[in-house]
């Protein structure tokens, strides 16, 4: 792990001094938290105030929506990262691109109707994304791991939505009241999401550490839940990376890292992915590897590379519908181009 990333994580968790130079992408992500921790890096105050404003607008709008839906017995569940704002010092510490909501089973039509009534609009080809005039956005989910976009993702670990609903909890998030997942589901979701997106945002590892520090976390239950959902490897990978960053893990988490230490190939892959987290899609490939069976790995990889057409058209929003048949050849070219870029990256680093 790069020493700069190590220092960034340590600074974000209040464990040390910030690095002298912060990459702009990481500053966007962690600048608010640095400011709240007392680090006066350039631009941090502005980011902090900007984050506070946007988060307050988003949460107020979503709470209003959830309150109305609660009256119709259709209140959605607030997912991480918005739900995890409660773990941070205040509302200006952690930016979020959009607010993710888990729709109650069978209630999607009511939720969409309420969103429309509240002035949220879905852009073309994105039926689950809703944007308001002020730029705030909501992403609707009917499951926790986006199997509606890539159905084979279930093979790499799955939290049954109905079971997650049965474990839901009422929480205060920055002074607003929401339904959220239980802490164990949130932890697993954070780990799985971070892996799939190649740990692009350090905020996800900060999220994980803060979640693990919650007093409600029961290690034995968390582990058995991770194994039963098939997400134990995603959890271990995230813990291994966090431990390598010099962050002191809870003793039980450190023991897991020793007992479940990944093999050499996976360890090297993790290190590579984290070092190139902003450029690589290696995390998505490694998440395919977490499938138990080889057949499942192939199926997931195939569907990731060539998802169904409606999902692929979201990747190419400017492709006119009449040219939709070109989406697959374009995807093939994109994969080849991406593969060559990754090889070039590997060659440059050597």
């Amino acid at each position: 792990m790069k020493s700069a990333d190590r220092q960034l994580l340590a600074a974000a968790l209040g464990l040390g001094l910030p690095p002298p130079v912060v990459d702009p992408d990481d500053l966007d992500d962690l600048g608010g938290l640095f400011y709240a921790r007392g680090y006066d890096e350039e631009g941090c105050e502005a980011l902090y105030l900007q984050t506070a404003a946007r988060n307050l607008q988003q949460l107020a709008g979503v709470e209003h929506l959830c309150r109305d839906l609660a009256e119709l017995d259709a209140e959605p569940l607030l997912l991480p990262g918005a739900a995890l704002l409660r773990l941070y010092p205040d509302i200006g510490c952690r930016p979020m691109d959009d607010v993710d909501l888990l729709v109650p089973p069978g209630k999607r039509a009511q939720v969409v109707a309420a969103l429309t009534a509240h002035g949220w609009v879905a852009p073309p080809r994105h039926p689950d994304l809703f944007i308001r005039e002020d730029g705030c956005s909501i992403d609707l989910h009917t499951d926790l791991l986006n199997s509606d976009r890539v159905s084979a993702r279930r093979r790499a670990g799955w939290i049954e939505p109905a079971a997650a609903w049965s474990r839901r909890q009422h929480r205060q998030v920055c002074g607003f009241s929401f339904l959220t997942l239980c802490e164990h589901d949130e932890i697993l979701l954070t780990a799985a999401h971070a892996l799939r997106h190649s740990y692009r945002r350090l905020a996800w590892l900060v999220d994980l550490v803060l979640q693990l520090r919650q007093p409600e976390v029961e290690p034995d239950r968390l582990w058995s839940h991770a194994v039963s959902t098939g997400l134990q490897q995603a959890l271990i990978y995230a813990l291994v990376l966090t431990g390598r960053a010099g962050v002191e893990l809870e003793p039980w988490a450190a023991r897991w890292c020793i007992r479940q230490e990944p093999g050499t190939l996976v360890t090297r892959a993790l290190a590579w992915i984290f070092s190139h987290r902003r450029q690589t899609v290696g995390g998505e490939l490694l998440s395919c590897w977490t499938c138990q069976r080889r057949r499942d790995r192939v199926l997931l990889l195939t569907e990731f590379v060539f998802p169904r057409r409606a999902v692929l058209l979201q990747v190419y929003p400017r492709l006119p519908s009449i040219l939709a048949p070109l989406a697959y050849p374009l995807r093939l070219l994109q994969i080849i181009g991406r593969g060559m870029a990754e090889l070039a990256l590997a060659a440059r680093r050597r």
Binding site: Y48, L49, A52, A53, L56, A60, D90, G92, C174, G175
Partner: protein, 96 residues
């Protein structure tokens, strides 16, 4: 010594927060979001304390006493700052 006009519009009134305005404290000061107007206002330390003290309604004198206690400052120093904060919050439409 600054002389306050006896016709100061902020004096003699009981200031209350308007409904539908969200407030959250920050590291320094606080932030307001007016859901009705869609506007966000950043408050410095004094303005944040004024806002927090207006929950049940407060007069200028009561607010000055609050701020004096919090900052260990004299009323003379504080009164103009509190009055200015009240005027700004009134102009923003979040206090009445």
């Amino acid at each position: 010594m600054a002389v306050r006009s006896t016709m100061d519009p902020v004096d003699g009134r009981c200031w209350c927060r308007r409904q539908g305005v969200h407030y959250r404290p920050l590291v320094e000061g606080g932030i307001l979001y007016d859901e009705e107007g869609g506007q966000v206002h950043h408050l410095n330390g004094t303005a944040a304390l004024v806002w927090e003290s207006c929950q049940e309604g407060a007069t200028l004198g009561q607010l000055v006493a609050c701020v004096c206690a919090a900052y260990e400052a004299s009323p003379v120093q504080v009164t103009e700052d509190v009055a200015a904060a009240l005027r700004q919050l009134e102009r923003a439409g979040v206090l009445r």
